[in-house]
Symmetry: C2
């Protein structure tokens, strides 16, 4: 699988898959197609991964979301609660070469992208905080333009 699946609580255009979150994330249950659910957990609906930024407003996640990523025999689940603050870090230039991608944990000062000017000079965009890259948005514009959505971990690391 090349991209993670994204599930949200208030989908704009739901796809077919669903996941249930019970007891504040202590139980996570992917429903089968057509499976009934009658518990008191939150049901999250699959949406297109590329629409991630539609569920983030002014740097704040507007509804519970869950990302699911499968690599070989490994499953990775990230459950993000409504109200979580994200860093939005832009990378814009004549040419932009992203260095990290979704799922990458980045340590403070690490490079996110290389920017090349029209003259060929190279500069780097770094992350100001340690965190996890949740999404990389390509913004359509004349110059190349990306936004990194990073979940900051705060200053807990020495």
């Amino acid at each position: 699988m090349r991209f993670p699946k994204l599930f949200v609580e208030n989908p704009k255009k739901p796809e077919k898959d669903r996941v249930v979150v019970e007891r504040d994330g202590k139980v996570i249950k992917f429903l089968e197609e057509g499976e009934e659910y009658s518990g008191d957990g939150k049901v999250l609906y699959e949406v297109i991964y590329d629409d991630f930024d539609e569920y983030v407003l002014m740097g704040t996640v507007v509804c519970d979301m869950l990302m699911y990523y499968e690599v070989g025999e490994v499953k990775q689940i990230t459950y993000i609660k409504k109200g979580t603050k994200l860093l939005e870090i832009p990378a814009e230039g004549y040419k932009v070469y992203p260095i990290v991608d979704f799922g990458c944990r980045v340590l403070e000062g690490h490079r996110l992208a290389a920017l090349q000017s029209r003259k060929g000079d190279i500069r780097f965009v770094n992350t100001p905080e340690t965190g996890i890259v949740l999404f990389l948005k390509e913004v359509p514009s004349k110059r190349e333009n990306y936004i990194f959505y990073i979940l900051p971990e705060g200053k807990k690391w020495d």
Copy 2:
């Protein structure tokens, strides 16, 4: 929380927490302390995170394991099945400066650590494949010595 919690199927020295995996990872349930469980899922027991490498033999994960990492309002779960092959990449030198840590996704050719020789020369250790750093082991020895355990994603990325 500074470190992830590690749960394994066949613990050597179990701690108090448990998690149940049902339907091949479609249901993940963290049990409360003392909670009874009578379903047919696999019960995984918490062990000390630093003992990760005791459950990896010749680059192969020897029992199902689950890592749980909490950052603020975000919960990240990684479920790794028995038999998963990991890359073990050593970094040894007079001084070793790890650049990435557990949870980091690294793209092919990215730097894992900087090595400094006694004369002060700097070299880098890179990852030969794209993957996720699951564990960073510090090996006690005369020179500084680390092993990066990386879950390779294969050549699916352009």
